[in-house]
Every structure is written in C-alpha cells, then in structure tokens.
Amino acid sequence: MNPWIHIPQLLAAGITMGAIYALVALGFVIIVRASQILNFAQGEFVMLGGVVTFFFITGAGLPYPLAALAAVLAVIVIGFLLHLLVVYPLRKASVLILIMATVGASIVISNTSALLFGTLPKALPPFSGDLPLELGGIRIVPQNLWVLGATFLLFFVLYFLSHRTLVGKAMEASSTDPLGADLSGIARNFMVFLAFGVSAGVGAIAGVLVTPIFYTSYNAGTLLGLKGFIAAVVGGWGKNSGAVLGGFVLGVVESTSIAFIPAGYKDAVAFVVLLLILYFRPKGILGSPYIDSRRW
C-alpha cells in the first residue's frame, strides 16, 4: 500500500490537531510570559472545559452556548484557585518544587473531576452540524474550521493583550525582570494571578472546541497538556507566535507519521520530536527570549 495516498487527508487532520495543540501551548505561554512558571496542570484546564460544559448541558439543562460560557468562567475560577492555593504559597520555591506541586495539582484536578462527573468519556455535539465538507477530495468536518478560526482569533486577541495594553506589558515585565517590575510598582503576584486566570480561560475554550471532535475523559488532560507544552517548546518557548507555529508543526508531524509507522507509536512521536528539538535547537524554531536565563 502506498502511504502517500493518505497524506492530504492526514495533513488536514494534522492541521486541526495542530490548532488544538496551539491553543494549549498558548495557555502555557501566557503564564510563562508573566512569571517563568511552568504549569503542568495546564492540560487539566482543557479537560475541564469539555467535561464541565457537558455537565452544564446534561446536568443543569443549560443551552449549549450558555453552558460553554459558564464552563469557561468556572474553569477561570479554578485557574485563580490554583494560583492562590498552590502557586502563590510556593512563589519562592525552586523549579523542582513547582514542577512537583503543579503535577500534584493536576492529579487532584483530574481525579476530582472523575469523582464528580464520572469516568466515562464525554462528547459534545458539534457547533454547526457534522456533515463533512468535500474540499478537493479531502473531507473536513465543520468543527475543524471552528477550531482553526478560534485559534487564530485567540492568537490575535492575546497578541493585542500582551503587546498593546498596559496590563500585558506589566505581565511581561514581571517575568523578564522581577526586581525591576517590583521597583516600578507592578503588583507582580497579581499579574501572575491574572495570567493563571487567562491561561485557564484559553485552556477551557480549547476544551469546549475539542470535545465535539474527540471524546474527553477525565484523564485526557495530562497527555494533551504535555503535547501543548512540547508545541510551545518546538515553536519557540515563551512566544505566542512560536506556540501557534509549534502547534501546527507538531500536529502535522504527528498526524502524517501514522502513514509510515504503526498507529500505536503515535504518542511517542511528539516526544521524539521534543528530544530532537531540545538537542539540536533548544530555542525552538522562532527562537526564544527566555532560553538564556538560567531557569530553562
């Protein structure tokens, strides 16, 4: 069988996947731009976005858009709580402690969600029907276009936020030069607090968008989070544009790899890409403003 036949279809799937990774990666970047902290629980926000929406629709009987909005707000609150309860008390701790604490938080969040909402995978109806569009011999589900559109919209909103508003500048300042930020009167911890909220919100939106395409279960967040992080590293750590580019690169590579290697190895592909990029170009494709600092 010629593996090249499937390439166009796989490319389309890869781009969708890439958009999702890009959304998760953006969540990581928001926090890193404000605090040089890596939040290993980022994937759980995505999972919660889908699962909580599902709960609001079936459990509370809200209409779809309202349920999605409520879920995003709920996850933002959880993001704030994560900062207040875990990250803020450890603001002076070492890298290792922060990693372990956010891993612990991710264990708590995913398993509590299993307790509250059950362990069964959840699926949401697509936003606008599930009739696939034929586009030059490739079949595309409309939901994929929604994901793509939302990714770019969020990218531009975040770009505007971080480059054109005072809050965005203050966030970046508190990450790149903590002492300088303190001296110029920026409430650094509050900036990190905000960043966690925004990041949780972006993650939850990703979750709402993804759940119609894939089933979301309580343990889906960890792997999705890791791959989002890999995407952010591949594209260029700490850059919004890098996160988006890395997401697409990772999605396409992972998806097209199915044509050449057994499907079971798909999850390993992302990590092989990660090891290669860390070895040959730790700055990522677009370069990174943070990589020189000792923390990374």
Binding site: L38, I97, M100, N111, V233, Y265, L278
Partner: protein, 362 residues
Amino acid sequence: MVKKYNKGSRIEYRKRDILFTAGLWLVSLILPDPHLPYRREFIKKRDFFYVGALLLLPLILSGPLVYLMVLAGIYAIVALGLSLFLGYAGQISLGHAAFFGIGAYTTAILTTRYAVSPLEAFGASALAAAVCAYLIGKPILKLKGYFLALATLGFGEIFLVMVRESRSLTGGVSGIFGVPWFSVAGFAFDTSLKQYYLVWGVLIALVLFAKNLVRSKMGRTLLAVAASEDAAASVGINVAQVKVRVFVLSAAFAGLAGSLFACVLSTANPQGFGLGLSVLVVMMVIMGGMGNLYGPIFAAIFLTWLTDVLGGFQEYSLPIYGVILILLLIFFPDGVGTRLNERLIYLISYWGRKRRRERVDI
C-alpha cells in the same frame, strides 16, 4: 502600641511553633540529622540502631506489612539512586520509572524466555538501565530546570509506548507473567520474609556504596556541580561528564530495583512504570531532604505506606494523594527532617533568648 503588638505576635509565634513541632518531635529523634550531612563519618552508632531495627522489624510486623516493607525497600533503592542525581548533583529527572521498568523487563524477559538465572538477570538489569541512561543522558543532560524535567519525562513516555507496542517481546499491555523467584545457588527467596531480608540486604549494600561515594572526592564533585557549575569547571571538574556518570549510576540503582520488583511480584507490566512512579520517587527524595541519603529511605517507607493506606479509600485515594503531595511541598519544601530540625533549633534558641530577656527585665 507598637510594643504591645510585638509582644502579642511573639507569643502567638511560640504557640504555633510548639504545635508544629510537638507531634513530630519523636520522629525527628530517629530521623537522620540533616544539618550534618557533610560530617561524613562512615558508620555512626545510629547506623547500628537502624540495622538492628531492620533485622527485628519482621518479628513485630504482620504478613501484609512485611510485604509492604519489601515494596518500600525496592522503592527506597530507586530513591537512593535518585538522591545522588537529584539531591546531590542537583539535576531533575522525571523519567526514573523508565529505568525501573527497563530493569524489570530485562529480568522478566531473560528469565522467562532465555532461562537465565535470576542472579545473572539482576546484573544484566543494572547494565541495561545504565546503557540506556548513558545513551539518553549524553544528549539531554546539557539541559537545565524545566527542560531537563520535560526531556526525562518524554523519555519515560517513549519507553511506555515502546513497551506497549512491541508485543512480541514485552507482552504489550498485559505484560509478562511467571517470573521466577529470586534465587542464589539453589536458595529461593519465596516468602515475603525472605524477600524482606533480600531487598533490605541489597539496600544496605547500596547505602554503604553511596555513603562511600558522598564522603569521597566524587561526593564533593556532585555537590560542587549542584552549587555552581562555573566554579566546578574552574577546578577542573568535567561537569558534563560528571552529570552523565551520576545519571548512569542512579539509573543502574533503579535497574537493580526493577529487577527485584519483577522477581518479587513475578510479573512485569507497563502500569507500574508510568509518570506516577517517577513523581512518587522524586517526592521521596524531596521529602527526605536534598543532599541526604537516609531521608529518602524513610520517605520511601512513609510514602509506600501512605499509598497503601490511601488505596483503601478507592476512588478518593488519588485526589487525597494529590492534596497530601501539595501540602507536603508547601510546608516541607526542603525535606521533613530539615524543616523539623530548623524548627527545633529555632525553638531552643527562642527559649534561650526569652530566658535571657527575662533576666534583663528583672
């Protein structure tokens, strides 16, 4: 006004300290003294007490607890190795479960497929883990901090996928069954009690090795690499090489533990070697205290016991486990023993100061 406020806050602080310390005071008497980790006398009186306690412990423990101590001993071996890498050399690894798994699978495959004796498989496991660590360590150990953590984590995930997918060799998700008991010259370790002495015997040997290491030139080298790589290089230490070697050494420890694990459970399947185990082992080292050899062993016993107890709560176990991890990290970020000793010393000095103040007042 100010005076009154000061006085009030002082008394409150003292009360809190007493509460904090009182319940755990007894524990701290047995815990290793983390303030003196570098006064490296080889054997102390305390060590005989520890060994004696280990020998006699099965007399008072019931069967399931002995089995638990066997598991704790196995994890303690991994934690001991990781302590050298993480606690002494200051590097981060979230992939030690993979080396543990490599050890377990090497033993399982060699003994069940090729009828190699468990003792030879024991050695081969350490070797296999060490070789893997060398190959993976060479490229990734130039990374620091988060990226090193992520790279080792990625290695662990790749290992899991490989194990699950290469079914002909590893039996896929269900794993390999029927690994024979560990045996030396015809003597099989077939009960929990025998396994207890086997595992803790191996652990004692490895502790002696590690103690020798940290009181010699190499121990100082590891601490120097952790403290300042520039300064270490300035006295002629090949930082990159030292990092790779200590990584290989700690992987070999994990490989030995994995081999014992396969022999004790007589099975090897991928469920036991995931990120969960890596996190658990790193927690053991953090709780035991950085730059400390006994701490991780005590933490291994405690955490193995804790996971067993939490297992009784079924679906509530993991959320509770996560909360306990976070609380431990928030309240004891530099190890339970270290923090307790600091509190004790503070308390003693506080009482000393108070008495002096009172004398002056009179």
